[in-house]
Subunit: 307 residues, 2 copies
Amino acid sequence: MSEFVSVREVGVRDGLQMVKTILPAGRKVEWCRREAAAGISHIEVTSFVPPKIAPQFADAEEVAAGVLRIEGLHASALVPNLRGAQRAMEIGLKKIDYVLSASNEHNMRNVRRSTEESIEDFSRIVSYRDELGRADVVVGSGVATAFGCTIAGKVEPSTVLQIVERLLKMGADEITIADTVGYANPGQVRDLMRDVLRLTGETPVACHFHDTRGMGMANVYAALEVGVRAFDSSLAGLGGCPFAPNATGNINTEDCVFLLESQGLRTGVDINALIELRRDVETWLPGEPFAGAIARAGLPKGFVPVA
Amino acid sequence: MSEFVSVREVGVRDGLQMVKTILPAGRKVEWCRREAAAGISHIEVTSFVPPKIAPQFADAEEVAAGVLRIEGLHASALVPNLRGAQRAMEIGLKKIDYVLSASNEHNMRNVRRSTEESIEDFSRIVSYRDELGRADVVVGSGVATAFGCTIAGKVEPSTVLQIVERLLKMGADEITIADTVGYANPGQVRDLMRDVLRLTGETPVACHFHDTRGMGMANVYAALEVGVRAFDSSLAGLGGCPFAPNATGNINTEDCVFLLESQGLRTGVDINALIELRRDVETWLPGEPFAGAIARAGLPKGFVPVA
């Protein structure tokens, strides 16, 4: 069997963060069910943020409960603080994607506290999980704006590496390095991810890229080359960040799967099934920008998924 | 000074091949003049094909004559046969971009003869140049469909390498490896270009990518990593191939320059001047699809061109 690379869908969370339509919980669950049927095994299904900040996720509990019934799917949720983590665990999710920003300015705007305070809160989440005896819950953390920030500009790699080191010491089960605002370029990805992987050892690492400046697929390739084997992506390239102007969108799931499979890496994902789902999602979210090349151009003649 | 990478504009040729509007010669010359002013030093300015096949290029002589007055610009033209090469040399162009397809099926559709016949014609062009005593004319050849073909499917790397070897023996001054139909992926680019560069030695080599399946920038990065230092690209990502369904478009010049500069490589190109030109070209070609991320999202905060 060929080497496996995990493509983690974030469209139902990151993708829906900026759209005009509040998608009903049932549609969100259907989206997840069909992605799972297409072979996507990890989905970030919702965000446990206060409903008044993000009305799109006021149904977080309902979506999580629906998704937990999908067999074989590893569902996670974004949480910005301890309260979010508590909600996620209460409903029965087995994976928590905590997020903080390497850029203090971005963290202040995003979650209204300093990066330092967010790091300390991560430690409280791990302790809470341990005190509950919920060893079945994976607690990972994303490091946002790891490649630069629209507010602060440059973010030093040493800042990112120090944060990763502290999160690991606090017991992070997984680290996700995120280019929240679409500033990353492939040489930068290669250099930073090589250093991150040196720190993380056996702890799983993922990359979360946005295609804002057209570098998404090049960044995936650069990360692959130094050994990253998990990527966040969004169906139809939906996505954005409220504090990153023009940051739509996430890298496109269909194109990302195509890139990985064309490198001889196994994703287990049926691209044509994703494209079929995408056509329906387009009707659910009228007026949104849908990106991606494979859905438009089709697979190359003779393309065979990696077994 | 940082290492230089050549970005060669093909929008005035490849980009205009498929558009609905016949752009007046004066506009084409203005396009070239403003690209040259923005720092683009090589432009493929027209195509010497029979006007009844491509009415867009019926003004090839007029455009070439106008462009030859632009100081410091290296202007070339696409030629599909000896007759085209003769026309290009007669008007005074110093560079000829011959093209043949590695896929025999594609070559038959594109120029109505076999790849073998096209290879032999290349030899006649070199002899013609030499007999004229025009040592000042650079005769390069492109190898189209080098990464796959929409008609034939897979194209063997050995086929491409054998063609490159024969072109070099015939006296090619430059080789361009082209993904005419947008089938290439970065691992494939890395492997093929590594082998091509072994054959070419001191002879300059360029890559010509299309972004049809979203892999354009990843392919540029992969080619860079093995040592390619020249790339064809098209302003606003215009372009296509009449025998490659949905093959729009070429990789985007603005995004390509951004990728290269972000790797610390010097292009000499002012991205903002390109974006300004692009805004005008959009008004010249109503209804065409314009692609590219940098023109939409802008450069990252603190971006500084490589000196």
